[in-house]
């Protein structure tokens, strides 16, 4: 009989940043190991701890993933060495092609095999079957990271790095699972800097603050709105216009706070090790146009596509029409990269078209009031996120249909309950008398204030230690940590 311990152990089998085991066990252990070894000038050993810790972190999710990332690192490092040993252009081209094919091939195999088979079956009316292939965590990120490295190596833009440095650059746990997509020149030199190996309170304090903010964003805001989204997608057809808009808005909020929260935690963790990780979000919902949105959202991905796809395709130097084609290609690839579903491709295509249209109507757009531009952009982003989130194009279309239907409906108790149930309301009954929808409105207003305040990178840039920031950080950490667990009440009536 399966024991409860066996069952519990399985649920704990993930070491996301927002978990007890990461915060209380893994992180302190790696920090102590790293700085202690550095203190005794065992620099290589310290870096080794970082690398091994990162691999342990990755393998913790699923031990069989480990061989994939290890082989990938070994393979790409060998390709890099091969490239640096060869002077001839022809040989280098061959090596590059081989390396790219291998990386992309691995990535495509794991991420898209099921998608391809399903589509072939649908089109050709066949019945091919393959087992559901489990997607190794972070493969989208470490694949792109290494592709950028190999291309740079081909272009002779990569100095002589040791294997230890290269491996740590790829596997560095703060950015391994969910980015940012870092470039070698912004990380590896930092690993080599002796000054960065001494514990630094300024960086560490900024790290704690960034981590706390990221944790709060993920656990307190993203997960909260995520529940509204999950509820909504359970039965899209039954949503009134108000609920439908709320579901769409909630996802817009969820995805930003989730992804940027995770990146904030990555930034914070990096700083705890004196490593500066590139910014990935710059208040994207402040954007006035779609191109600007992509300058602010998942910045390292935009950078990657620009450098390694857009410019090689010719960028904007091959005429207007070709520019539009290039832009469109980028966004189709981007859509595809995000997920193995037609919904992502549609999402990418829509953003591609919006980019092109913005270029075409550039003059007119500049004449419009900022508020109007902001509104159009924000609405567009909301509507396209629906395709990103919906399980199918049909569901996405349905939700949009519900938004524009004239049946308004109400918010509903199930939704307001999500906003009302928190530790403060549940324990201090007197807040119970405040109607649920006020909690909802209050939370939305609060979130919008956050969206228009300074973002985390801006905050830590100008960070000055003070009682205020200390209290803020303590409260954020404590409330987030106790929110990692809850009690599910099953209101089922069944025997």
């Amino acid at each position: 009989m399966r024991t409860p311990l066996q069952i519990w152990w399985k649920t704990v089998k993930n070491m996301l940043f927002n978990s007890y085991i990461f915060i209380f066990c893994f992180l302190p252990a790696v920090l102590i190991g790293y700085y202690l070894l550095n203190r005794f000038s065992r620099y290589k050993l310290a870096q080794g701890i970082l690398l091994l810790g990162s691999l342990y972190f990755y393998g913790y999710f699923n031990f069989s993933y480990l061989w994939i990332i290890v082989s990938s690192i070994l393979f790409n490092f060998s390709m890099y060495k091969l490239l640096s040993m060869n002077r001839k252009k022809g040989a280098k081209k061959l090596i590059l092609a081989f390396a790219l094919l291998a990386n992309i091939g691995l990535f495509v195999y794991f991420k898209y095999s099921n998608f391809f088979i399903d589509n072939i079956n649908a089109v050709l009316q066949t019945d091919f079957f393959i087992e559901k292939i489990l997607l190794p965590l972070g493969i989208s990120f470490f694949t792109f990271q290494q592709i950028s490295f190999i291309i740079d190596a081909y272009r002779d833009e990569v100095p002589d790095y040791s294997f230890l440095n290269y491996a740590t650059f790829v596997a560095f746990f703060p950015q391994l699972i969910a980015g940012p997509i870092v470039l070698h020149q912004e990380i590896i030199p930092q690993f080599q800097e002796r000054a960065r190996k001494t514990f630094n309170y300024e960086n560490f304090s900024k790290g704690i603050l960034a981590f706390a903010i990221g944790l709060g964003k993920k656990v307190l805001i993203a997960d909260l709105f995520g529940r509204v989204v999950t509820l909504g997608y359970e039965d899209v057809g039954s949503l009134g216009a108000i609920r439908a808009i709320l579901v769409a808005l909630s996802y817009t909020i969820q995805i930003y706070f989730d992804f940027s929260g995770y990146c904030d935690m990555a930034t914070g963790l990096g700083l705890m090790f004196n490593i500066e990780i590139p910014q990935n979000f710059n208040s994207p919902y402040k954007a006035l146009t779609i191109p600007e949105f992509w300058q602010r959202w998942h910045m390292t991905l935009t950078r990657f596509f620009k450098k390694y796809l857009y410019f090689p395709l010719g960028g904007n130097r091959k005429g207007t029409f070709r520019t539009y084609v290039n832009v469109f290609i980028i966004f189709i690839v981007s859509g595809f990269w995000h997920g193995a579903n037609w919904t992502f491709i549609i999402w990418g295509a829509m953003h591609g078209i919006a980019n092109i249209l913005t270029k075409i109507f550039d003059k007119q757009i500049k004449k419009l009031p900022r508020a109007v531009n902001w509104f159009i952009t924000f609405v567009f982003v909301n509507l396209t996120w629906i395709y990103f989130r919906a399980p199918s194009i049909g569901d996405a279309n349905k939700l949009i249909g519900r938004i524009f239907s004239m049946e308004f409906g109400s918010v509903g108790n199930a939704v307001t309950h999500i906003f009302k149930s928190n530790v403060f309301v549940n324990s201090i009954g007197l807040l119970d008398s405040i109607p649920g929808y006020l909690y909802l409105i209050g939370t939305l207003i609060f979130v919008f204030i956050l969206l228009f305040s300074r973002n985390t990178n801006e905050i830590i840039e100008t960070f000055k230690p003070s009682w205020y920031t200390s209290v803020f950080t303590v409260v954020l950490l404590v409330v987030s940590i106790i929110s990692l667990s809850g009690v599910s009440t099953f209101l089922y009536f069944n025997f």
Binding site: M1, R2, T3, P4, L5, I7, W8, T11, V12, Y20, F24, Y201, E202, F204, S205, I208, N422, V423, N426, S427, I428, G429, K464, P465, S466, T469, S470, T473, V474, L477, V478, I481, I482, S483, L484, S485, G486, V487, S488, T489, F490, Y492, F493, N494, F495
Partner: protein, 362 residues
């Protein structure tokens, strides 16, 4: 300055977390570490979370297990009629895994002399390795390390605070004897006319003579049945030969059986029942009772709030009956009892029966 900030922030966070932990451990609303520290404040509101604590720390020599079929028992009645000290450990919708799990904990921590067990045949085909609904496993293990999910848990903290507030208001602890009862919240659902109307509307126009479409029926998963019996039921009985197992088949209404019959599974369930009875009868420490074929109970729709959930008076009746040795199954009579139920279901005119309740009310 940054040094001071870092140290102050981290230490403060640590201190507050320790205080929260102490707070939760001292009050312990889910009895993970100890029994209530006061006679006021505690409330039993969550079986999945509180049963393991009850089993571990409270004093008893008898346990009551089963599903919502047993939640309305008054343990003091069992205590009185059987001379025991019973603790209720039911799980709404309990699978046999649930029952085995909590029973194991009970046996580990107490000298359990009697087990009162409401046996639900349908649950035999459930996964023998899974609880019916997800459980907070960290409360079911003896390890301390997973308790972090209990201590730093927003809802546990909320319940800790409410417990303290109720302590101040001197609200007495939920009586254990009537813990988890659901009758008080469903009194108004005991409406025979409503139940009758609802059943008739779902049953459609299936006439008595209509052919049952066997091809459409669901199958009973016999692998699971075997595993549940071998893994979750028999070991408890075998490993505790000095414990008396008072097991009973609760009286679902005739509508419940009518539904099973319309799925073409009546014979399957009768065979299943026979299988279970024969497996259990081998043991001297098992007393098996069957209330399912008593037409005076199951055909009286006023006893029910739906097809299966009966009034607490029935629970009381079962206590007295079992204490007085009625409805006991023996090697001589069990086949006859099974047939009695089988024939009852086949012979009854359900629409006519239900129409009476609809007409009466008007």
């Amino acid at each position: 300055m940054h040094k001071k900030w870092t140290i102050v922030t981290l230490i403060s966070t640590g201190i507050i977390l320790c205080l929260i932990a102490a707070f939760v451990i001292v009050i312990d609303p889910f009895f993970n570490y100890h029994t209530p520290i006061r006679d006021y404040g505690y409330y039993l509101n969550n079986e999945s979370y509180q049963n393991p604590g009850l089993a571990r720390h409270f004093t008893y020599d008898a346990v009551l297990v089963g599903s919502s079929m047993v939640e309305n028992f008054d343990a003091s009645e069992l205590d009185q009629m059987f001379g025991v000290n019973t603790i209720k450990l039911p799980y709404s919708g309990a699978s046999f895994y649930n029952i085995k799990l909590i029973s194991d904990i009970a046996f580990r921590h107490s000298d359990v002399k009697t087990v009162f067990w409401g046996v639900d045949l349908t649950r035999l085909s459930s996964d023998p390795n899974e609880p019916r609904y997800p459980l907070p496993e960290y409360l079911y293990t003896s390890q301390k390390i997973d308790d972090i999910e209990y201590i730093f848990n927003q809802d546990v903290i909320a319940q800790t605070v409410s417990t303290i507030r109720r302590m101040h208001a001197k609200i007495p602890n939920t009586p254990l004897d009537t813990a988890y009862e659901w009758y008080s919240q469903h009194k108004n659902d005991f409406n025979a006319k409503a139940v009758a109307q609802e059943y008739l509307s779902t049953r459609g126009d299936i006439g008595e003579d209509e052919e049952i479409d066997i091809a459409n029926d669901e199958e009973i998963d016999m692998t699971n049945v075997e595993l549940n019996i071998q893994q979750n039921i028999l070991p408890l009985i075998e490993e505790n030969p000095d414990t008396t197992f008072i097991m009973f088949f609760p009286p679902y209404s005739v509508l419940y059986w009518d539904t099973i019959h319309s799925q073409g599974l009546l014979d399957d369930y009768m065979r299943l029942k026979e299988l279970v009875i024969e497996a259990l009868m081998k043991y001297d420490n098992v007393a098996l009772y069957d209330f399912q074929a008593d037409a005076s109970i199951i055909c009286d729709i006023t006893n029910y709030k739906d097809y299966s959930h009966y009034h607490p008076d029935i629970n009381s009746y079962m206590v007295t009956s079992m204490a007085e040795g009625r409805y006991l199954l023996t090697k001589q009579n069990y086949k006859q009892e099974i047939n009695k139920l089988h024939d009852l279901v086949l012979q009854i005119d359900v629409p006519a029966l239900l129409q009476k309740y609809i007409d009466e009310a008007e």
